[in-house]
């Protein structure tokens, strides 16, 4: 399978994980390891930067795991940029998952502030991966602003409802010049496989693994689903047909 390349960095795994919502840090670590993920997102607000033995981070100390700090909690571009700079300094990475959701009820991303922050952060040298609505025009605007990837949502975050935005995801995937990572709403391995079959470059999963009865084996299930979906995509899926091939062709006269 092809390697995934984001901003010059290569990934074997196309499954990214969120680290919240697990019943314990140990459980989170086991799930991350079982998933084979090489990029995990960590909320800056959850990390205690004042100690060098942060509970969450100490469970993510594996050579193959890269941290993707996120700005969850930021309500506007200004707060997000500030948090990003702090994360860069504390976690020693210029990778950033940009999350700006001023609405704490459904955690809907703010397109306007996200675009503004992406522009700024790209100028400041960040590798920006913004969490956004499945909005094809916004994706193009983010590309112009220097985004490293786009992370459109499959359905409202935490809902496990799957790919409700599928029609828009397809347009985004078709048009994008940067990797498309489907984030939020992926509820089951079959959702992840479906996103990969559509041609998404990667998926990010959190709730569906963290809240599963057995997070570790669910992480392994997602690993297989993402690989299967990608392999199917690279193998070029046979087209779906709603009807049988016509027995009396309409254009046979052209051969006469």
């Amino acid at each position: 399978m092809q390697l995934l390349n984001i901003a010059g960095k290569e990934f074997k795994s196309r499954l990214f994980l969120g680290t919240g919502k697990f019943g314990s840090a140990k459980q989170m670590e086991m799930a991350v390891l079982a998933s084979g993920s090489e990029l995990v997102t960590v909320a800056l607000k959850r990390v205690d930067l004042e100690t060098d033995t942060d509970h969450l981070l100490s469970h993510l100390q594996h050579p193959h795991i890269n941290l993707l700090p996120n700005t969850s909690g930021a309500r506007n571009a200004k707060e997000a940029i500030f948090a990003a700079q702090l994360a860069r300094e504390a976690l020693e990475t210029n990778w950033l998952k940009l999350e700006i959701h001023p609405d704490p009820k459904y955690l809907m991303p703010d397109a306007i502030e996200t675009l503004k922050a992406t522009e700024e952060l790209a100028k400041l040298g960040f590798i920006v991966l913004p969490y956004i609505h499945a909005d094809p025009v916004l994706c193009k605007r983010l590309e112009d602003a220097g985004t490293a990837a786009v992370m459109p949502l499959g359905s409202p975050i935490g809902t496990n409802k799957g790919l409700k935005t599928i029609d828009f995801l397809e347009i985004i995937i078709e048009q994008s010049n940067v990797p498309v990572i489907v984030d939020a709403g992926i509820g089951s391995p079959s959702d992840a496989a479906k996103a990969m079959e559509l041609g998404a470059d990667a998926v990010l999963v959190n709730t569906a693994i963290a809240v599963a009865g057995n997070p570790t084996s669910m992480a392994a299930a997602f690993k297989m689903a993402v690989e299967a979906g990608r392999m199917a995509y690279e193998s070029t899926l046979a087209k779906q047909l709603n009807h049988a091939m016509a027995s009396s062709p309409l254009t046979s006269f052209l051969n006469e």
Partner: protein, 370 residues
Amino acid sequence: MNSFKNIFDTYKWEDIKSSIYSKTSKDVEKAIASNKRNLEDFKALISPAAVPYVEQMAQLSNALTQKRFGKTIQMYAPMYLSNECNNICTYCGFSFDNKIKRKTLTDSEILKEVEVIKNNGFNHILLVTGEANQTVHVDYFKKAIELIKSQFANISIEVQPLETDDYKTLHNAGVYSVLVYQETYHQEVYKTYHPKGKKSNFYYRMETPDRIGIAGIHKIGLGVLLGLEDWRTDSFFNTLHLDYLQKKYWQTKFSVSFPRMRPAEGIIEPNVIVSDKDLVQLICAYRLFNEDVELSISTRESEKFRNNIIPLGVTSMSAGSKTNPGGYAVEPNSLEQFEISDERSAQEISKLISESGYEPVWKDWDKTLA
């Protein structure tokens, strides 16, 4: 001011009460089966008709809470800054007419208390006072917050109702959330419990969350004091209030607390007894009605109750709490606002949470985000 009062005044306590008490098992089953529940469903879920359905509600509440909040419990500690109070609240240990020694912490005392709270592991703190506007005012709060800000990721306050500009000042000073409980939404009963002091103004208190919302504070905490009046009717009004606020202040988070009346110096017996089963029903009803509201349980509750409530819908817990100013270090024997019931240490509660399959979360905010 365009506030909750406009909505509240269109409701009558007795009508709501009889509507709740006339809900049937059919209403409850409809509410349980629904995936988008409204206020009528909430009434059914808190009604006596829902009592046989508590287990079913608990299962749903467990799943909904995990979906939204994961298997986590946020840890916080209260710090009482003062027990000075000019209000008479007939149920409260700090009531003006209660002849106790009054105390307001000084800067150095605050720092001594903070040291103990930090050593207990806390990064989220709740500052609590009575209402004594001459000595414990916005400037006092501002100074206290500046004093402790560097040591906490998240600061909440539970103090007297303030003006919008005061809330803006405190928001800028670093306050993340403000808790203000209406105590009871029964106007006449409210007056008998609060005969004297600024708090006797029912509407001023009820419009406080609007002022907090306008000021842009991140989170507003609501609640009724369980035991003053019919808890079902009071909880309906609290939910009506929550629903209104959530739609109006769409950038604000909300939490609900469930203070159940506990013995305190010189106070009356609860008017209404709220049983453990009642409280579980209420917590689950809140969760089924509102998937994203934070639900908080304090050390007022017993060990047994707290041991078992973790997976049922709550999202935050205090532990090792002292409810008297100076209680952690300065003056451990000064008078408490109420007797705490669960006296286990923060570490013991943290262990309890882990053993229940949940992660105790000590930090879920950052002062840089304020």
